[in-house]
């Protein structure tokens, strides 16, 4: 426990010194805020471009705040996930291939402690970024598009967090096996396959974690609720498996001690 705490505070210090603790939340917040602002100004932007006939313009309806929040989640699903992957792709690989982990792992530090601390660090970064971004999007859309139901918005945000955490854990696992770019590619491919199977064959795999993302969006856009206990359970299990797998791989890997 003591070691995990030491390793974790080093992770946080490193993220602070490399400004990762700054840029990832900032980009995430921009991504969240962009959607409500865009939707607010969309009619004016279209009108200003001048090429659109007034009849068409009048047919454009301003979306409700909840719909905008669903669109925000949709943004997270593409660019947000990409950010999570980029922020995490070197998290273990960086230390493994540069050789810094060797000087740590010869001490009384187990691979599991090393991995758990790193995972906690990454998860902290992602939770902070996502939460701030979601709150900012909530704030802007409630100002620009109208009020949002507290319970529903909170619930949707929490459900979607499950999917984000899974994405972060998948990248983490892949970064233990592969070098940065390859880890990113593999995790994106994996997450895309999960999302695709969910949207193309929704009935086939009821416990698909990607269902969490869909369920959160459905909840906001009001198109019916889905039972998500299965996906939630599987997501939690998958996250645990990612950490356990990463720690197993780390223990059985040759630890490089020089670049």
């Amino acid at each position: 426990m003591r070691n995990i705490l030491l390793l974790y505070s080093k992770e946080m210090l490193e993220m602070g010194r490399s400004y990762k603790l700054l840029w990832v939340p900032v980009v995430f917040i921009l991504l969240g805020v962009l959607q409500p602002v865009m939707m607010y100004y969309l009619p004016e932007l279209l009108a200003a471009s001048g090429d659109i006939p007034p009849e068409l313009l009048s047919t454009i309806t301003v979306p409700s705040a909840a719909e905008v929040m669903a669109q925000v989640l949709n943004q997270y699903n593409s660019i947000g996930i990409l950010l999570v992957v980029i922020a995490g792709m070197n998290i273990v690989a960086g230390e493994r291939y540069s050789g810094t982990s060797a000087l740590i792992l010869v001490r009384s530090v187990s691979s599991t402690q090393f991995i758990v601390a790193k995972w906690l660090g990454h998860i902290t970064l992602i939770v902070i970024s996502y939460t701030l971004s979601y709150l900012a999007a909530w704030y802007y859309s409630s100002i620009l598009q109208g009020s949002l139901a507290w319970g529903m918005t909170l619930q949707a945000g929490a459900i979607y967090l499950g999917w984000i955490l899974l994405a972060a854990s998948i990248v983490f696992l892949f970064s233990t096996v592969l070098k940065g770019g390859a880890a990113a590619l593999a995790s994106i491919l994996f997450l895309v396959i999960l999302s695709m199977t969910n949207s193309l064959l929704p009935s086939w795999f009821g416990w698909n974690p990607a269902r969490l993302a869909a369920a959160a969006m459905n909840l906001l856009s009001g198109s019916g609720s889905v039972n998500i206990s299965g996906p939630l359970l599987l997501t939690a299990l998958a996250i645990l498996l990612c950490v356990a797998g990463a720690s197993y791989i780390m223990r059985h890997q040759v630890i490089q001690d020089q670049p």
Partner: protein, 308 residues
């Protein structure tokens, strides 16, 4: 006995880098691991440090078998890789404190020990600077500092001085001299002179096998050439030259070669031969200019072992 290695083997696919080596290290000894490039020295050290699981064989430390990966008792190891890499965003001080704390020291203790060890390796002035600003030699010293900070009872050093300039090398050698006795040291090196200076035991590896292992002095004896070289002063008196010539008849002489006032004598027992010749030369006031009993240097021994 602090560590015992039995039939240690490491395979990388088809290639066997370490071929079933066995040895033991005594507490407080300093052993040099010598061998040409690719002999398996680094692989051996990394297995001892627990960074690499052996394909087969056992490493037993202090009565405990710890073949199964990394475990907590490795706390007692200090390891310096050949090209250590650090968190460049930390200062030297921060890194050593971090390393000490991960080895179980309290915050206060880690700070004190780190300061002491940084001074010992000559980095106290640069201890607050970021490691990204350090030169190669400074990084090597920092590597040594992190290996020493928790007072390990075994130090594994992979080429500890090869990246240093002559001054730095001198300082590190002196530091190792101090550490000898309190810590068991196993160091790999190409610099034979350094090995000769600090180590009392030598292990030579070639193609993954230990080809020689023993006390440095014993090995030097074993590989010393049984040849005596003598040279008399020019214009020596005829009786001296006659004495020199008469050496040919001694029982211990195997071969004899003479050119004027100098002779190369291959003998069966170098100790006896040396004693006899020196005492006779002293008795007869032989004007000896040069006398050499052919002990080979570590370098000659190294060449012989490696090429045989």
């Amino acid at each position: 006995m602090i560590i015992q290695v039995h039939q240690l083997t490491k395979k990388f696919g088809e290639r066997t880098t370490v071929k079933g080596i066995s040895f033991a290290l005594e507490k407080g000894s300093c052993t040099a691991l010598l061998g040409p490039n690719g002999a398996g020295k680094t692989t051996t050290l990394r297995m001892l440090a627990g960074l690499m699981a052996p394909t087969s064989g056992q490493i037993t430390r202090l009565g405990q078998d710890q073949n199964q990966g990394r475990r907590s008792e490795q706390n007692q190891i200090g390891y310096l890789p050949q090209h250590p890499s650090f968190y460049k965003w930390m200062s030297g001080m921060e890194f050593v404190v971090y390393a000490a704390r991960l080895s179980g020291m309290s915050k206060q203790e880690a700070r004190e020990e780190a300061e002491a060890v940084l001074e010992r390796v000559g980095l106290q002035a640069a201890s607050r600077r970021r490691i990204s600003d350090y030169s190669g030699g400074m990084k090597q010293r920092l590597g040594l500092a992190q290996a020493l900070v928790h007072h390990p009872d075994m130090l594994l050093l992979d080429e500890p001085v090869s990246a240093l300039d002559p001054v730095g090398r001198r300082e590190v050698m002196e530091l190792l001299q101090e550490l000898k006795g309190e810590t068991t040291i196993l160091l790999s090196t190409h610099v034979l002179h350094d090995a000769e200076e600090v180590c009392d035991r030598v292990m030579m590896m070639r193609e993954g096998e230990i080809v020689e292992n023993g006390e440095l002095s014993d090995l030097l004896d074993k590989y010393s050439l049984p040849v005596l070289n003598l040279q008399l002063e020019y214009h020596s008196n005829p009786s001296a030259v006659n004495w020199l010539r008469s050496l040919r008849e001694r029982p211990f002489v195997l071969e004899y070669e003479q050119h004027g006032g100098s002779a190369a004598i291959t003998v069966s027992d170098i100790k006896e031969a040396r004693a006899v010749i020196l005492s006779e030369a002293a008795e007869r006031h032989i004007p000896l200019q040069r006398f050499e009993a052919g002990t080979s240097t570590l370098e000659e021994m190294f060449m012989k072992v490696v090429q045989s």
